[in-house]
């Protein structure tokens, strides 16, 4: 019986949702405009992605353009939601991403809209963008013009809707300014952590003292740099320094310092770069809004 159930489950997996091996792989997010068909010239690509980058700076919304030869065997909607789930365009929690997807050989296109934009780019609106703006140009073979006009119209419509202001440096992508700021205070913080930590250890005992010291440092750093993550890292460092105590002071100092400046921060891509290299989705989620069409 169990076996039968397992078989059914596998069948279910096979029938719904689980991508089969034959499906087109989701292209890597190499930039705001990903063209796998060579439809757009490099100058057209960079012009369009420049516009989209400026728009993101101004509004915060991330719009991606993807041109693939085909989405077979999946429908364009199935492929599109997989791309959206992989790229995660749009800010996390705001979910203001959108993707303009063109499957050139299938003669199908789709605008996939993130949850946060569904109020502006409604199904009816995206349908009309496809039918009235993009498809007529595609019919005449003007792909670059259609894509450009469609993306611009999407931006105009999003502009009409109040969104939360563009992101401050987010916690996952610390930019260098944040750490310059931190280093200004670093001697101060380290000194304070040592003295205060020693004092707290005397007063409250080893574990509790360390906990309080860590908490205080975390709060201080958080206030100064307004980044929870940086605060947590420095707080942890302070906690361990205090815990290890006087014996490891000299080494603890340096390790604490590297703890606050290392930790993989440099690998975070900065969101402000408009080059195709440093672009990544902000973690927005999609649930299938938008419209599909053909030409």
């Amino acid at each position: 019986m169990r076996l039968v159930q397992a078989g059914l489950l596998a069948l279910l997996l096979f029938c719904c949702g689980a991508p089969a091996f034959a499906d087109v792989a989701v292209p890597a997010l190499t930039g705001r405009v990903v063209d796998q068909t060579g439809t757009l010239s490099s100058s057209e690509q960079s012009e369009l992605s420049g516009k989209l980058a400026d728009f993101e700076k101004r509004k915060g919304s991330q719009i991606g353009v993807l041109i693939v030869p085909t989405t077979e065997p999946e429908t364009i909607a199935q492929f599109s939601i997989r791309v959206a789930e992989a790229w995660k365009l749009g800010r996390s929690k705001v979910d203001d991403g959108a993707i303009l997807l063109v499957a050139k050989n299938d003669r199908k296109l789709r605008i996939e809209v993130g949850n946060g934009l569904e109020g502006a780019l409604t199904d009816a609106t995206t349908r009309r963008i496809i039918d009235e703006i993009i498809a007529p140009r595609f019919k005449t073979g003007d792909f670059a013009g259609g894509i450009k006009a469609g993306a611009e119209r999407m931006m105009k419509i999003i502009d009409g809707e109040p969104l939360s202001p563009p992101p401050e440096p987010s916690e996952w992508r610390a930019d260098t300014a944040l750490f310059d700021q931190l280093f200004e205070y670093a001697p101060f913080l380290l000194f304070g952590a040592f003295i205060g930590g020693a004092f707290l250890r005397q007063m409250l005992g080893r574990l509790l003292g360390s906990l309080v010291a860590g908490g205080l440092v975390m709060a201080a750093v958080w206030l100064i740099v307004s980044s929870v993550i940086a605060g947590a890292i420095c707080g942890l460092a302070a906690f361990f320094i205090t815990l290890i105590g006087d014996s490891a002071l000299s080494t603890g100092g340096s390790s604490g310092r590297s703890g606050s400046s290392g930790g993989g921060w440099s690998s975070g891509s900065s969101s402000s770069s408009s080059s195709s290299g440093g672009f990544s989705g902000g973690g927005g989620s999609f649930s299938g809004g938008g419209a599909s069409g053909s030409w």
């Binding site: 489950l9 909607a77 939601i81 199904d123 349908r127 649930s287 809004g289």
Partner: protein, 202 residues
């Protein structure tokens, strides 16, 4: 009762997370939230139906049976309670699915009929409603797929060792999932027998 408490104490000392208690909680919550998304999107479709029926009525009054079929199916959907408990009761989920499937069938019959009314098809309001319906159907598909995945994860978690012991003690049972049989029923378009005019080339 005493025995139960002893077992509980033993579990607590082991650390509940080690037995997958927390994983079960997480997955359970995931199932709940993806279910409410499914219901939410079906509701969205149900809200569209009256407008759609009215807009078709204006152009195609003689299609009474089809319109009536849609209205009745919509009423039936409204009468099936889609409480969060549905996920724990395969029978209730079956009922829910059957009602929604009937509405899907009635809607597709309606859409086939609209093909015969060029004036209706070029009506701006009808066009907007149609794109909303398409978008909603797509959202339903996405929500259902996510629900199916969430339930799978939960069920596998509840059935594998050692989490199954934890699940047994706390009374977490497998949850109902959308069935393949109905899947087939829903996705096949109903046969309509009148002589359809060839659809205009798109």
């Amino acid at each position: 009762m005493r025995k139960f408490l002893t077992v509980l104490a033993a579990l607590a000392t082991l650390g509940l997370s080690g037995c997958g208690y927390n994983a079960i909680q997480t997955n359970d919550e995931q199932v709940k939230s993806s279910w409410s998304e499914v219901v939410n999107q079906y509701q969205r479709r149900a809200d569209l139906v009256p407008n759609l029926v009215n807009s078709v009525k204006g152009f195609a009054q003689q299609e009474k049976d089809v319109l009536l079929g849609v209205t009745n199916a919509r009423a039936k959907v409204g009468s099936v309670q889609a409480t969060p408990d549905v996920v724990n009761d395969p029978g209730a989920l079956q009922k829910f699915q059957a009602a929604q499937g009937e509405l899907s069938g009635a809607l597709s019959r309606l859409l086939v009929v609209t093909e015969n009314y060029p004036q209706l098809k070029s009506d701006a309001l009808f066009k907007d409603l149609m794109s909303q319906l398409e978008g909603t159907e797509n959202r339903i598909t996405v929500a259902r797929n996510r629900y199916i995945k969430a339930v799978q994860e939960y069920n596998v978690g509840v059935r594998t060792f050692p989490n199954n012991l934890t699940a047994m003690i706390f009374g977490y049972k497998e949850k109902a999932n959308f069935s393949v049989a109905n899947e087939g029923e829903i996705s096949t378009a109903p046969k309509v027998d009148f002589n359809p005019t060839p659809a205009p080339a798109k």
